[in-house]
Amino acid sequence: MIALTGLNHKTASVAVREKIFAGCQEKKDVLPALRSIVGVEEVLYLSTCNRVEVIASIAEDGKALKALSAFLAQNGGLTDQEAAGCFYEYRDEEAVRHIFRVASSLDSMVMGESQILGQVKDAYRDALEKYATGVVLNRLMHCSFRAAKRVRSETGIAVNPVSVSHAAVELAKKIFGSLDGKKILLIGAGEMAELTGTQLIEKGAQSIIIANRSLAQAELLAEKFHGKAVSLDSLEKKLVETDIVISSTGAPDFIVTAAMLKKIHHQRRNRLLFLIDIAVPRDIEPAASELENVYLYNIDNLQDIVDENVHARRKEAIRAEKIVDEEVERFVNWQRELESVPTIVSLHNKAEDIVKAEMEKASGWIGNLTKEDQEKIEALVHSIVNKVLHSPVTVMKEESSDISSRDIVAAVRRLFRLD
């Protein structure tokens, strides 16, 4: 059966997650150790900053599942008290659904984020390289990638930005179209401003000017961006050149006033100006928003956009869950076919079909023979077919109680093209 155990940001505190994460990072041989647990056939190990999970194909009695979570707890050096209630365990269809939801980023802290799929793929590649996976997990992981891909392309779950800095970038694109060659002015050297600046540069913005009360700090940041540092005194002059302003100082009063912008409006030749004010108290006078071709957003405005997008993602998640359900059903169906009995039946059916078709083809000359001879030939053909099929069918029947039967059944299905 397929089983899954692990913990994530919902069930375990950050302290516990850290311990487990560190425990597994130290030891390079987590996969072989997991595999050596009795009853574990195939195993895959996923570890990110928000979750640690083990997905395994284990013996039908399910005893190995407890051993897996115990191993994780022990490996992370957790006390029994810490470990209690942190681990979740899923079996069969539930486990399949869980891993599909994880890959599709429905279980992530930021729903719809794109990193998790890459992490799942890395984990799978790791397991593949160490020969820790087999027929069942290989198929399971490929199906989970497909589910994730469908969720991404068929729903809008990853469309709208859900962080303040991404929302700012999207707004900049709605104003300027392309950010190529746009000039950015950072007022104040805050972390948030830095992050937003980085993302704008990534999207093609040309240069950054940093204006700060302390010139030394501005220079430090300027070095990082290959930008220019100026003091706050030359702010007005710099405002003339720039297209995007991100302000985040701790100043109590407005640093950029509407009157100031009005004054330089003509000098800027009425170019569009995008102002982002993420400081509290605010740095840019709200009246600036009334000016022509000036677009001012403060931190609350950006947060409102983010909230709305989060809401929209939740709505899309309902559609995503339906896709996951479909894919789970598909996988479970495939798994069911891996049982011996249906495979034996379809093997016989296929042979029967071939015999029928060939006899039909030969009906021309067989028809000339006596009835007795015809019956003899038919009996001969059937007996040959049954003899040929006898060994594979017997092996499948014999092994059906054993866990390795799946490999054999899968091989038969592939060799005889039964899928």
Partner: protein, 276 residues
Amino acid sequence: MILNNLELISFKIALILCAVSTIGYLSSLLVRRVKLAKISTWILSTAFVFLTVKFLFVIINSSWFLNPDSRDFLSFCAWTVCAVYLVLQFKTKTRVLGAFISPLILLFMIAAAGEEAGKSIRPQNLQSGLTALHLFLTIFGEALFVIASCAGLMFIMQNRLLKSKKLSGMSRLLPSLNDLDRINHLCLLWGFPLLSVGVIAGVIFAQISWKTGWLTDPKIVWTFAAWMIYGFLLHQRLAIGWKGYRMALFSGITFILLLVSYFGVKICFPTLHNFI
């Protein structure tokens, strides 16, 4: 006769395709799917091809390339707007513009189809290369102004959405302010010289064939006013540096004013341009 029929058939196909693409564009606004707008663009391109075929038949059919009867005139308007839009579209990828322009094209086409029954006989004295040039350039110039104004209207909408600090679905669908401003700029830049040459050609022709009396013709006054206003806008843009919102607002107002006065003039006054 066969040629006439073929001309009619390709016109009708173009009309139907145009209607389909308009519906497609408008519903792409409603359901907010870019794919629908993409398909509509291809349908409109096909309509454009059929319309072009129609004009090929017109050229083969008649001694000079444009019959200044209503139907040809209006469908030629549709053809030019369509051509300019498609070129812009493939250059800037602002498909949503289609939702604003395709209804206009459809309107031209329907009006053209309405006139189809009573094909007026073209005035003999208008047959000259000069009038052809005049018609072609003025229509082209004004088609560009139409698109400039559409972009202006969209700019005003997008501006309003962004100023309201919301990033709604509508705002996501509309092109960026900068792109809209660029479309407005390009259309004014190309439309104005085309219209200028067109007007000059008309003046020369009128001077030769009518000698006097044409200056006070209401339609000429109207065209001259349009030319002046767009010239003024272009001047403000290039020399004074008007940009963005104000430009969009003025081109929008101008467009509506000119549209109203055009129909006003058409209904209220007798004119030498009675075929338009």
